[in-house]
Symmetry: C2
Subunit: 334 residues, 2 copies
């Protein structure tokens, strides 16, 4: 262990891959050798890790020989194809995609919430969707304080949740506006600059999006509350980084504002940011680049005796993705 | 009547005042003479109405002589001071401010929802807050279809809801970003470009904002359901015009998706825009400049047997303010 591990990052040129490299450095994750993987069109490029240029390799059947831990953030189809190969080559895979999250044999882990779930993994551990992670972080201490009965979650999601193409789309549309030019949607289904789009991921027959159904299913699995009633609405907003979620939660036992503040403040990875009189509440511009999820706007529900409203914001590239993956790996090597 | 009315617009240089002039023209409101009022610093300017330049006058004790209908959109303190003077001078006042909305002697009117409320007015009629109007439009037909039991409303509010200063702030911050310059908040408490700010209006002791409490109190008054449980969260987003609201509603009687679509489609002033398979759902860029409120993303609640989720967007300068005021006046002269 002292000499470190051979670590692979698959999807290294993407938004989450790049953030993974940064956080591996920041947290001094014990990397003996870094292997950088991406699709064919990135081969030949280099990425920087601890000041060194690392050549990007193509993923493939023989690629994972010698790899001990592999962080996958290259999308579901890549994970489905290559994660089992990495496991057969002897690696443990921490997968950021949707490929294995709901597989009953794959742990779905937010280390502050359900660290025990890593036990008994069979080579693959899944990292939840970004919106799930940001939402479940405050739900866990609230559940411990009052037992959750129902949750209504409404999101405000940053474009980088859709990757570098999302960032480029907001950037180029905004610059077009600044030049007085027409805006043409290319990546998102509609204009995202100066607009809000209630459509993240594909629509299911019941009218919900994949993003909304992921939120329901993943929160239930992580909290081990398979019947928890959750009503989701997910919306893309013209913000570069950090997802915000407005949460209305009903509990079995009343949780006062004071008790909720205490419970949130005492939970690792959550930061209480709730001084409305000083205009202090969580916002993307405050939380971007931070590891903690910030929670504020804590209000007892006006419409229910056992209800609570709050507002949580998390950097979805960090806690919502790369950081959470690395924290899972840290649990494994501890 | 045939020769028209003497109409005053107070706050004529503001975002709502300008939209009021435009809609008075569009709807051929019977204006015999237009009087344009604003604060001292705008006196001497002119505004354009039906192609003519109209000189801006200062409001004052003698200003309303001869005025028959006065549209006020100059803010609460102006309304409190001058609306009673206008009434004493013989005018009927349609007030867009917060000054009189909760006065039990003042009707609070959304013409499609509670037209009967205009009867028995004593000279002043109040127009609800913009977010209230957009939210209450679909709630009315849903209440008729299934009797409302509880509402959770979460907003995405455009900067022009805060007037021309809000528009200028988003514009100038975005242009600064495009030039690579730092962004300095001047009007809103925090950066609004590429950010979302869960703070509209002042905070009350219970942690709710004035905007959130207005939504609760005004929806109850308009629907004549004084005890209706409503849980509000209001948020400013970097959109120029049109407010969006995610609504989760619980009803006494189950309202299916099909029944809700029918109820919304049949309600005047609402437009059903709900074909997710064709990427058709309401958004600010679709609704800006439209009179109707657009409703879509209609989904039966996954967490309640009698719950419904939907998403409504309205141009808050038109239906959320100027248009609604003019519709109130049209009810009066009908």
């Amino acid at each position: 262990m002292a000499s470190g591990l051979v670590v692979a990052v698959v999807g290294v040129t993407g938004a989450v891959g790049q953030t993974t490299l940064k956080i591996l450095e920041e947290r001094k994750f014990p990397v003996r050798e870094l292997r950088a993987f991406a699709s064919a069109r990135s081969v030949g490029k280099t990425v920087t890790f601890k000041g060194d240029a690392v050549r990007v390799e193509q993923v493939g059947p023989e690629a994972f020989k010698g790899v001990e831990i592999a962080f996958f953030s290259a999308g579901s189809s890549q994970s489905k194809e290559y994660a089992p190969q990495a496991v057969r080559a002897g690696a443990v895979v921490v997968d950021k995609s949707n490929a294995f999250r709901m597989d009953p044999e794959v742990p779905l882990v937010v280390p502050e919430v359900n660290p025990h779930a890593v036990r008994g993994h069979r080579g693959i551990l899944a990292c939840p969707n970004c919106t799930t992670i940001v939402t479940v972080m405050p739900l866990k201490p609230l559940h411990e304080a009052g037992r959750l009965r129902r949750v209504v979650a409404t999101s405000y999601q940053a474009v980088s949740g859709a990757g570098v193409n999302g960032v480029e789309e907001l950037r180029s549309q905004t610059l077009a506006w600044a030049r007085g030019e027409a805006i043409t949607p290319r990546f998102f289904p509609h204009q995202i600059a100066f607009n809000v789009v209630p459509h993240v991921d594909k629509f299911a027959d019941n009218g919900y999006t994949g993003e909304e159904l992921k939120l329901v299913n993943e929160v239930r699995k992580i909290l081990e509350l398979p019947g928890l009633p959750i009503s989701p609405t997910t919306v893309r907003v013209p913000v570069f980084t950090a997802h915000s979620v407005a949460v209305n939660a009903e509990t079995e036992v009343k949780v006062s504002r004071a008790r909720a503040r205490e419970a949130f403040a005492g939970f690792p990875g959550l930061k209480l940011w709730d001084e409305p009189g000083e205009n202090r509440y969580p916002m993307p511009v405050v939380v971007e680049g931070q590891d903690d999820c910030y929670v504020g706007r804590i209000r007892e529900d006006l419409s229910l005796s056992n209800g609570l409203n709050f507002w949580v914001v998390g950097d979805q590239l960090r806690k919502g993705a790369a950081l959470n993956g690395i924290q899972i790996a840290e649990l494994l090597i501890r």
